[in-house]
Structures are given as C-alpha cells and as structure tokens.
C-alpha cells in the first residue's frame, strides 16, 4: 500500500465552528426559505409568523438531510440537536432583547424632553404634548419607597440570616422552613395583606409608607434566603479558627463571617432591591395615586415608577402611552444600574478594585521617591 492511498486521520474538532457546518447551515437555510416561499405561492397560507415557522421546520429537515449525506445517525442527531439548542438560545435572547429594545424605542419619543425628568404630572393633562409634564414624582416615589423598604429589610434580613447560620438547631430550622414557605407568597397577596391590616384595620393612610411595608413583606423572604445561601458558603474552618483564637461569636460574625461574605451579601441585597423596585402589584393596592410630587411617605398617595407606567398606558392618548413607555425605559435603566452596581460592588476582583490598587501602588511609589 502506498502512502497516497491512506486517507489521513482527521482530528475530530469539538469546539468552534466547522466550515462544513457553516456551509450546511447556510444551504439548509436558503433552501428552506425558498421552499417556504414556493409553498406560500401555491397554498393558501399567509402571514409572517407562519412563514417563519414553516421555514424553520423545513430548515431542520433539510439540515438533517444534508448532514445525513456523510455522517452516521449519531452524527446527524448530534448536529441537529446542536442546531436546535442554538436556535432556542438565539430565539430566547433575541425575544428578551427585543422586549427591551421595543420598550426603549417606544419610549424614545418622550425621553429627549428635559421636563420629562424634572416635572411631575400635576399640570399636564392627557391632551398636553410631551413638552409638558414629567415623571419626577414617580422617580422620587420609587426611591423613597425602596429606601424605607431597605431600611426595614436589610437589618432584619441580614441578622436573621446570621441567626440561621450561627445558632443552628430545631428552632432555626423551623424559621428557615417558614422563610422558604414565605418566598412562595404571591406579591399581590402581600399587598392585600398590608391593605387589609395596615390600611383598613390600623388606619394607616394609602401612602408611600404603606407601599414600602408591602414591598418589605415581599422582599424579606427573598433577602433572607439569598443572604442565607451566601453565608452558608463561608468556610466553617475560618469561623472555627476565629473561635479557636478566642474571639467570641459576635467578633467572629462581625470580623470574619460578614467580611468574607460581603460581596455575596451586597449582590443579594441589590438583586432583591431590583426585584422590589420593579414590583407593581403590592404598590397598586397600597399607595394610592397622585399626579403631583409627594415627598412625605406618611401622608398622602405616592406614585412609584411601575404604578406610573400602569396608569399612563391605561389612557388611549398616544402622548400618555409614549410617557408610559418612557417611564418603562427609565425603570429598566434604573434596574440596569442597580445590576451593574451589584456586579461591581459584589465582586472582589473588578476594574475599580484594580484601579484603586494601581492608584495606591503609584502613589506609594511617589511617596517612596
């Protein structure tokens, strides 16, 4: 046998995109689209969605056929599964990105106006153009409500999470089970609870404070559970070392456990905040509605961003709907900022941390010189 007749062993490529796959994909796609177009001309079908659906199915079929030309059954299954999984991911990501883009693009009409961020709606009516009126009252309302809610939930939640980890036993297991159970509480029921107790029974007004209470009831179990998870990850050896060196439980918790879990706790808090800011249903029942700025959380209705969105889009006027979408864009932006903060503050190695370190290094060098 001469060397020319021996076909080279080809290394199976597991990662990256093979040219063969790329070609197969493109061919199958082109064929599917063309075939669907052909189908649509002879059959009484119409509509973009059905076109896309049928084209996709045909694409999978063609892809499988083409791959079957030179791959065995396992190979075909592998390729087809890979295509389906990738397309699922693509569909989901594009759908979710589309939702965000749709909201921002619809809201773009209202965003360029500075008055959108500096005025409230006390003077602007449904027929007024976008150059009057704004959402300052709901931005402030959201911030105030979430600040009160955090003031309630952070101490309570963190200390409870520490409790669950520091004092193990039947009692803390029971509390943990209750907290797990409460994460199942629907947010509307939390709002209903506060409405029925605080507002109807105790006579608290429909106000920012009542809304903050409802948000706290909803956020508390989430906060406790997230912090609990983070605190459990702190290695027991660290705590034992601290205890062994003579520190008491308090000093261990304050100087060892919490600092170790700091980044995780920050992330947990900020994620719970993002959840709390975006919830409409507890606020719907407890905060009332106003078109003017109200900075007093204990008296009078206070609007927050989600409630403002809900109210704006109820109107059929296009300016109001544009305002609603603009508010939604602002809300998403706020959530995005919180998220990025969570990532920055929550990680130990980050751009800012390194930057700070580098700056210190430089200044130290200067001082040394």
């Amino acid at each position: 046998m001469t060397t020319q007749n021996i076909i080279e062993e080809q290394k199976r490529q597991l990662h990256g995109i093979r040219i063969r796959d790329l070609l197969t994909t493109l061919t199958a796609a082109a064929s599917a689209i063309a075939a669907t177009g052909f189908l649509f001309s002879i059959a009484p079908l119409s509509g973009v969605l059905s076109f896309v659906l049928i084209a996709y199915i045909l694409f999978i079929v063609f892809f499988a056929l083409i791959t079957a030309i030179d791959d065995d059954r396992e190979g075909v299954k592998d390729r087809v599964a890979s295509v389906i999984i990738r397309s699922a991911a693509v569909i989901i990501f594009s759908a979710l990105v589309f939702i965000v883009v749709f909201t921002i693009s619809r809201g773009f009409e209202a965003l360029p106006y500075l008055n959108f961020f500096t005025e409230d709606m006390s003077l602007a009516g449904p027929l007024d153009p976008l150059s009057s009126g704004g959402i300052l009252h709901s931005i402030m309302g959201s911030l105030i409500q979430i600040a009160i809610a955090l003031a309630i939930t952070i101490p309570l939640g963190l200390i409870t999470a520490v409790f669950l980890n520091e004092i193990p036993g039947k009692y803390s297991r029971f509390v943990r089970t209750m907290v797990e159970a409460m994460t199942a509480l629907p947010s509307i029921v939390a709002g209903l609870f506060i409405y029925a107790t605080a507002i109807l029974l105790l006579g608290v007004q429909k106000s920012g404070f009542a809304a903050a209470l409802a948000i706290s009831v909803m956020m508390l179990p989430i906060m406790i559970r997230a912090s609990d998870v983070v605190l459990r990850i702190v290695p027991g050896t660290l705590k034992e070392a601290s205890l062994g060196l003579g520190a008491g439980a308090w000093r261990t918790a304050w100087m060892v456990t919490l600092p170790t879990a700091r980044s995780g706790l920050t992330t947990a808090i900020i994620l719970a905040t993002a959840r709390g800011i975006g919830e409409t249903s507890p606020v719907l029942l407890t905060s009332g509605f106003t078109a003017s700025m109200n900075l007093n959380p204990t008296e009078g209705p206070m609007v927050s961003l989600p409630l403002a969105i809900f109210q704006f889009v109820k109107s059929p006027e296009p300016t109001m709907i544009a305002r609603g979408f603009g508010t939604a864009a602002v809300l998403m932006f706020l959530v995005l900022i919180l998220f990025m903060l969570a990532r920055i503050l929550g990680s130990d190695k980050n751009v800012f941390g390194n930057l700070a370190k580098n700056i210190k290094k430089l200044t130290k060098k200067k001082v040394a010189k």
Binding site: A34, G47, S122, S292, L295, G300, K314, P316, A356
Partner: protein
C-alpha cells in the same frame, strides 16, 4: 483600602435617598393641605381638568379614577377624603344593598353629561359615523339579541346605508362602574323584559334592576375592560371593528370616534351634546328632602322626556364629601376641599361643554354651594352665581342652554327617508386623523400622506395618514348620503357601502421575493452538495 471606593459608591446611593426621604412635602402657597379622592371614571375627565386648574391657587387635589364602586367603598373605609360616583349610596344591586357609610357625608352635584354609545364601524373601508338606534335596538344589542350589524332592526333605522355583515362586539366595564349603573338603570326602566331575560341568562335573579357590574354571558363574545379609558381605548383601536361600548361622551370626543344617535321619545335621533343633555335634565327630579338622599336624582322623567332635543341617557354625577372630621380627614383638608368645590361649582362649569359634559343648571349650583358650607373647616364664601359665567344661567332663572338648544335637523327624525345625513357624529371631523398609532398596517400603502401630521406614525393605517377622514355625513359638493372629503383637494365622495374584501396579503412584492428565492433554491441545491463533497475529500475542514 479597597473599601474606600465601594463605600464611596454606596454612600453616593444612600445620601440623596436620605435627604429626600426625610424632607416633608413642600409648603403650598396659601397653605393648602392636599386632599385625596377616588371614584368615577365617568367624571374623571372633568375632575382632572379642574384639579389641574386649581394648582395655580396652590391647591393639590389627588384623584384616582378607579370606578364609582371603588370610590364609594373607599370613602366608606375612610381611605379617601372625597369620592365621586354616578349613583348614590343605598341602592340595591341585585340582592345586595350598598350600605351607607358610618361617617357623616353629603352629596354635591358634580357635573352633568350624557352616557354615549361609542362604536367602531367601517363601511367601504371608511369609518361610518352616522349610526342611528332606538332604545330597544340598543338594548337588544347589549343583551345579545341582535348580533350582527346588518340586522334588520338596525338597517330599518338607517335606511340607505349598506351595513356590513359583521358581528357586533359589545364592550362592557369589568370593574364596578357608575356608567354601568346608569346604563343598566335605563335599560331596566325602559326595556324591562329584554333586560330581565338577559339577566336570567347570566344567572342573576330577576327582576334585575340596575347593577354596577355588567353581567357577562360566556360565549357571547363580549369584551370587558376596566375603566372608561379601558373601554374607550379598546373600541378606538383600529383593528377592533364592530365594537360598541357605553362611556361618557368626553371619552368618545377625546378619541375622535363617533357615537350613536339615540332615539328619544319624540322620535328624533339625538347626540349627547351639552345642550341636548341640558334639555333632557330639565325633567330630572331632585330629591329636596333633607337627609341622606338630599340632592340625589330620579331620572325616569329624563328617559321619557318629550322634548325633541333631549338625549335620553343623561345624568348628573355626585361628589361625596364628609361633613364631619373623622379619621384622617381634618379641618385643613376640609378647607382645601371646600375651595375646590367652590371653584368647580362656579368657574369650572364653564369648561364642561368643551370637555364633553354639560354644565349644571342654576338650581343645582345654588344647592351645591349651600352643601359646601357643611364641609368642616371650609372657609364659607357667598359666591355670586352671576359671576360664574355658567352657560345655563339666565336672568329669569330658566336654563338658557336648554332654552337655546338647537332643534335636531329634520334628517334626524324617525322615518326620514331622504338622503340628508343630519347632524355629524363627530364634533370636529376634519382635523383629527385618529389617535391609533397604526398597529394595523392596513391595506392602503397610503400615497397621500394627509395634511394633518397628527400623531399617527403608521403610513397605511385606515384611521389616519391617508388623508381621508369621515366628515360625519356632512353634505358637500352635492354629494348625497354619508361622504368623506379629501383634506387636500376638497373633493367629496359618497361612501360606498360595500362589503369589505379580505385584504390580499400576498402583494406584488411578495411574488418578486418568491421568484428570487426560487432561484436561490435551485442554485443552492445545485452547487452546495458537490461543493461540500469536494471540500471534504481529503482536506481538513
């Protein structure tokens, strides 16, 4: 220390929150304390406008348009300082009596208006605006007896119009609504048997009477939406053809959609304009007995008013105010509420017509001004009603607005078989291209962009952008029957009432795309397979 940066960032977050969180609300000019109210969405447009007007005086009035039932309930629970409702307390809804609140209260008349029947119908691709209906036909529409727009009963009342064979979709309120209460009260009074039959179908006990929650029978295709904005917004969507709803006239005006001309007892079809409503309400009986129903209305006379100009579905709405300090209602809140009431009873009524309501007549204004004195903490004023500029006031005490109300045109009399379309169905048909942002791409690519830039970004939408707007049947250029006029050229054409052909969505461009892709298919199949085999043979891919 690494902490510094993070602490700094965190403190940046916290400080403004703390600063704003603990500051109290800014002091108002003239030291008015804000008051909160909730209730009727029927009256919401008026209250909203008035609330905006009094901001200049330093008054802050918050109003949540959540429905009359919600408003009355919240007032009972003490969670609001005032409420607005179309119907008073104490009425029986089904088998339930709406109990009176335990706190002392009083009714003050708010504003008058007509409950209009807003509809979305197209004939020949253009919006139809000249629908006439008798009360019986209307009741049958809303109780599912008449289900198609081309029904003989409707056609009989609209001669010469070729109505489409489209299903009627009644849109009703899903929340507890005063509009529902007014509408069902009229149906129960005037067309009892038809209404009771429907109630029985819906599982309610008969005799039915009025209700604040419209009964819906499953499978009849009714749509329910919350709030006046919800129902009017639903009907005004371009794609929702064939829908009809009951809503206060101002909502129909705002969306630019036509309303039904309702037949009154003197055989005229009338629109719910301010003057027609004022004429009708001359027959309203106001309860003048001192007590819990002081100033409430009895409308049976209104329904059967024999004046040719009267609109049957006219009514007043109430403001429910506390007459004693209780709970969170303080005397300083009473001062604000009282001044607000003084404002709307006098100056505010001037705007009623523009907003789509009808101004209160002098007897109700005077009685209302007296009621205001009962609010605790109010700074009593003796308002000179002559300075109110209310269109209904006259020197001899008759209702000027009603007296000068124009008679309905002969074309709107029952049995008119001529071709004059009569009074327009839309107040200002020429400039409002519709507010639908054009989610329905429509069939007409719209070569004429229209003169009114409007708010419609859609360029093919049937409701705007194409430059054609229904003019409510106003005759011009000798065209008979309902017509539309091109805004640009001024040429009017008659509406052709043909059945609408389903749009052909595989247009010319689609065929072109198909041909291109067929070519790609052939090329692809032709070239791809050998290409792959060649590339595969012996080469590393």
């Amino acid at each position: 220390m690494r902490l510094n940066l993070k602490t700094r960032l965190l403190s940046l977050l916290i400080i403004p929150v703390i600063v704003f969180g603990f500051s109290s609300s800014p002091a108002q000019a003239a030291d008015y304390v804000p008051v909160n109210g909730a209730g009727s969405s029927w009256s919401a447009n008026a209250i909203d406008q008035w609330r905006r007007n009094v901001v200049q005086y330093g008054m802050r009035v918050n109003y949540a348009s959540t429905g009359s039932s919600d408003g009355r309930n919240q007032f009972k629970a003490g969670t609001v300082d005032f409420a607005s409702s179309e119907i008073p307390y104490g009425l029986k809804d089904g088998s339930v009596v709406d109990v009176l609140p335990s706190r002392a209260f009083a009714y003050i008349p708010l504003v008058a208006g007509g409950t209009a029947l807003m509809y979305n119908l197209k004939i020949g691709g253009k919006r139809f605006t000249n629908l006439k209906m008798s009360g019986e036909t209307l009741t049958k529409v809303f109780t599912g007896v008449i289900t198609s727009w081309d029904d003989a009963a409707i056609a009989e009342e609209n001669p010469g119009i070729s109505l489409p064979k489209r299903k009627i979709v009644p849109v009703v309120r899903s929340d507890g609504s005063g509009s529902t209460a007014q509408f069902t009260s009229w149906m129960a009074d005037e067309h009892t048997k038809i209404w009771d039959d429907y109630c029985k179908l819906a599982g309610r006990s008969t005799p039915c009477g009025l209700t604040s929650n419209y009964p819906v029978v499953s499978g009849k295709g009714y749509v329910s939406q919350p709030g006046s904005q919800g129902v009017s917004g639903y009907v005004s969507q371009n794609a929702n053809e064939g829908t009809i709803t009951y809503v206060e006239y101002s909502y129909a005006l705002k969306t630019g959609f036509p309303v039904v001309k309702l037949l009154n007892k003197s055989d005229h079809y009338v629109l719910p304009t301010a003057s027609n409503v004022a004429v009708a309400l001359l027959e309203a009986k106001i309860d003048t007995r001192p007590g819990n129903s002081y100033l409430t209305q009895i409308l049976t006379g209104v329904y059967s008013s024999k004046d040719p100009r009267s609109y049957p579905l006219s009514s007043y709405s109430y403001l429910i105010v506390p007459t004693a300090v209780s709970g969170s209602f303080t005397a300083s809140k009473g001062a604000t509420l009282g001044d607000f009431a003084y404002y709307y009873l006098c100056e505010g009524q001037q705007q009623a017509e523009v907003l789509g309501y009808s101004p209160l007549p002098i007897n109700l204004v005077k009685a209302g001004l007296e009621q205001v004195k009962k609010i605790p903490g109010v700074s009593a004023k003796n308002k000179d009603v002559a300075k109110c500029n209310n269109p209904t006031f006259s020197s001899d005490g008759t209702n000027l607005l009603a007296k000068n109300a124009p008679m309905p045109p002969a074309a709107d009399k029952k049995g008119y078989t001529g071709t004059d379309p009569g009074a327009g169905g839309v107040v200002d048909p020429g400039t409002d291209p519709g507010t639908d942002p054009g989610t329905d791409p429509g069939t007409d690519p719209g070569t004429d962009p229209g003169t009114d830039p409007g708010t419609d970004p859609g360029n093919g939408g049937n409701s705007g952008g194409g430059g054609y707007v229904d003019n409510g049947g106003i005759v011009d250029n000798g065209i008979v029957g309902p017509g539309f006029c091109d805004n640009d050229t001024g040429i009017c054409q008659a509406v052709s009432a043909e059945a609408i052909n389903p749009p052909d969505q595989n247009g010319k461009t689609f065929a072109q795309i198909q041909i291109i892709f067929l070519l790609v298919l052939f090329l692809g199949l032709l070239l791809a397979v050998p290409l792959i085999s060649v590339l595969r043979r012996g080469h590393k891919l």
